[in-house]
Amino acid sequence: MKRHSVLRVVAKLFLPYILLFALYVQFHGDFGPGGGFQAGVIFAAAFILYALIFGLRTAHKVASADLLRILMAAGLLLYASVGIVTMLKGGAYLDYNFLRHDPVHGQHLGILLVELGVGVTVAAVMVTIFFGFADRKNR
């Protein structure tokens, strides 16, 4: 897309806003529609737009396969370890009430962490899937 300067300018214009929007969806999920999964997908979509317009190799420089692999595992681990922490603090698995002294704050913190885990895993996996397909040139 070397000569598609219009597309490239527009994409450069939009990308920061899309990422900002993804963050908004991630952390605003308690109050409006949205949450970790949706935010992860939007984040991945922004990344895919970037890769589509600026080329795969450039995109790989931003997110290498190793980084994606680690993020993918880290998100799931974050989610699961929140449960372990509540367990260590004396509650049942994933009982966020035990995260803080006050159940309401505990719930907030727990949901925040858990959604973050979901978001990270989803974004990493979606980008991995996209790269998996796009990298595989069969000719």
Partner: protein, 117 residues
């Protein structure tokens, strides 16, 4: 008996069956996955339909409203959508690999290739 209140269940069932029909009647591996996608999406619609309360609004608490639709089906379907896209991704990557191994993605042709020595 008043069956009119069921019309949208019936349309949703029609949609489900269209998807199901694509899955079982087509030979093309990608078309099958497309059918599966439609089938699953329509099942999600079935779930969402049952969560609706007449006169209700989206289950995000707001002090101007007091009737909310049922949030539980929404939660279930959020999970199911994710499962659907995961299956889709794995299925499509299998198709890509099959195409590399057989140079076709039609079921009949695959059988033909298989029968060659």
């Amino acid at each position: 008996m008043d069956y009119f209140g069921l019309y949208n269940y019936w349309i949703v069932i029609f949609l489900m069956m269209t998807g199901f029909y694509i899955v079982i009647s087509r030979d093309n591996l990608i078309k099958k996955l497309i059918g599966l996608n439609i089938f699953q999406t329509s099942v999600f619609l079935l779930f969402i339909t049952m969560g609706k309360v007449k006169g209700g609004t989206a289950p995000i608490i707001n002090h101007h409203f007091d009737t909310y639709s049922n949030p539980l089906p929404h939660v279930l379907i959020l999970t199911a959508i994710v499962v659907g896209v995961a299956t889709m991704a794995v299925g499509l990557s299998l198709v890509v690999r099959i195409n590399e191994a057989y140079h076709t993605i039609e079921e009949d042709d695959i059988h033909l290739v298989e029968e060659e020595p």
